[in-house]
Symmetry: C2
Subunit: 232 residues, 2 copies
DNA sequence: CCAATAGTGTCTGTGAGACATTATGTT
DNA sequence: AACATAATGTCTCACAGACACTATTGG
């Protein structure tokens, strides 16, 4: 079925902006691009750009990111007259390791960002909060890790994204008790920790897509998933 | 700063489509509009239309809905080449009572919808799932009720949206134990239930915006095989 | 009287968190 | 030797769910 192009309505320019998160130096970091042209030239902004006629929204996000993330999901759309007829569809991406960012882009700590164009700072805040909530009830923390990882490495991911310390023993038992969260590889690390300790067992991501029961953020007051983008 | 209109990029037509939910006849119902013009004339679709230059996205959603909902939040955006350069930003609305739908629109049970245009059936599915999740950790169930309501009425809302039966006694105690969920009015219903029983106390929505601890859906918890014979 | 409902009490299993313990590594 | 870490065990508290029970209303 073909939808006729409604040219009698004022057209809108649609961009895709990506909140790409990784963990580097034990900090949650966001990919920030330098704008080399346009009215915001010289300033910084999220990686993004105008969508092309033949591509899906998610494809545009991957193209603007310049790499295939371990996880990608839509965040929200931001429009309104304050944006001069530019509608931004934002995406959240989890990127493992430290891929070298494409030219003109650099990682910045999520809690120490430079000034960003438009309302991108708010988009980042929405993305970080979404990421924190996602770790509670999905196994996506492993999207920040390599193919195999130890329970301690997984715990560090949680601690970094949530900004809290977690009890190592309880975390260990909890992760292994959730079906499908991780599965053992039979292997262990080649050496103990930097400061000693036995070799840790290596795990890979399991096949669960949701965690039952979830790993709840400590500090009982406070955390609830907020999937609603924008108050209106 | 002014953002220059990037006319060198192919423009896109942006619509806002609303998944409006209410509870009628103890069923979750969705507002469906008749399309009176355009390529889908005669078919049904979600209430929606093209955004206007001077309005916010949420304003457009309220305008297309034709009424101010008790709750409104953005759902997601749907684009891609399969939609012929029409990008749809969808919204989820909770509507209390049974306001008379505007001309050309009618309520349909969410689990028995007529064929809808484009991918609107999927948008409805996304909206219903979002609504179910929202009831778990927000007090928004009261958005389906009147100004005051009984605990039983609140429970019926949960049962209808979730499609499950809930234990009356446990639900009662749970709701009253969550701070800020409901607050008593001091009044009671004028009569008992249709089939008897004492007069129920009336409550109004409290000031909490999040429920902690949340009301979890039964069935989602408990990975172990269901050992309880009595199913509520 | 009978049935249905409002509201409360009580018990139990589960799980989170605090803390302890043992084994195994590194410096 | 000293210490950090991996992994597991134990205890307690909170809470969800099952179940019981009383009081109050309509038919």
């Amino acid at each position: 079925m073909m939808e006729e192009l409604p040219h009698r309505y004022a057209p809108v320019a649609v961009t895709v902006d990506v909140v790409a998160l990784t963990i580097r130096d034990r900090r949650l970091q966001v990919l920030v691009a330098e704008r080399d042209a346009g009215p915001y030239a010289g300033s910084r902004a999220l990686p993004g750009g105008f969508i092309r006629p033949e591509e899906e929204l998610a494809e545009a996000a991957v193209r603007e990111l310049g790499a295939r993330p371990a996880h990608l999901e839509q965040l929200a759309s931001y429009g309104g007259p304050g944006r001069m007829r530019v509608l931004s569809v934002s995406y959240l991406a989890f990127v493992p390791h430290l891929p070298r960012p494409r030219a003109g882009a650099a990682w910045h700590p999520a809690d120490d960002l430079p000034p960003l164009a438009s309302d991108h700072a708010r988009i980042v805040a929405d993305g970080v909060e979404r990421a924190r909530a996602k770790l509670e009830y999905t196994p996506l923390a492993s999207a920040f890790a390599g193919d195999t990882f130890t329970i301690s490495e997984l715990r560090q991911i949680y601690e970094t994204v949530w900004g809290t310390r977690l009890h190592p023993g309880n975390f260990h038992r909890k992760v292994l008790s959730v079906p499908g969260f991780v599965e053992g590889t039979g292997a262990t690390t080649r050496t103990g920790g930097v400061r000693g300790g036995p070799r840790a067992r290596l795990y890979r991501a399991g096949d669960a897509r949701l965690l039952h029961p979830p790993l709840l953020r400590p500090g009982s007051a406070g955390t609830a998933p907020d999937r609603s983008p924008g108050r209106w």
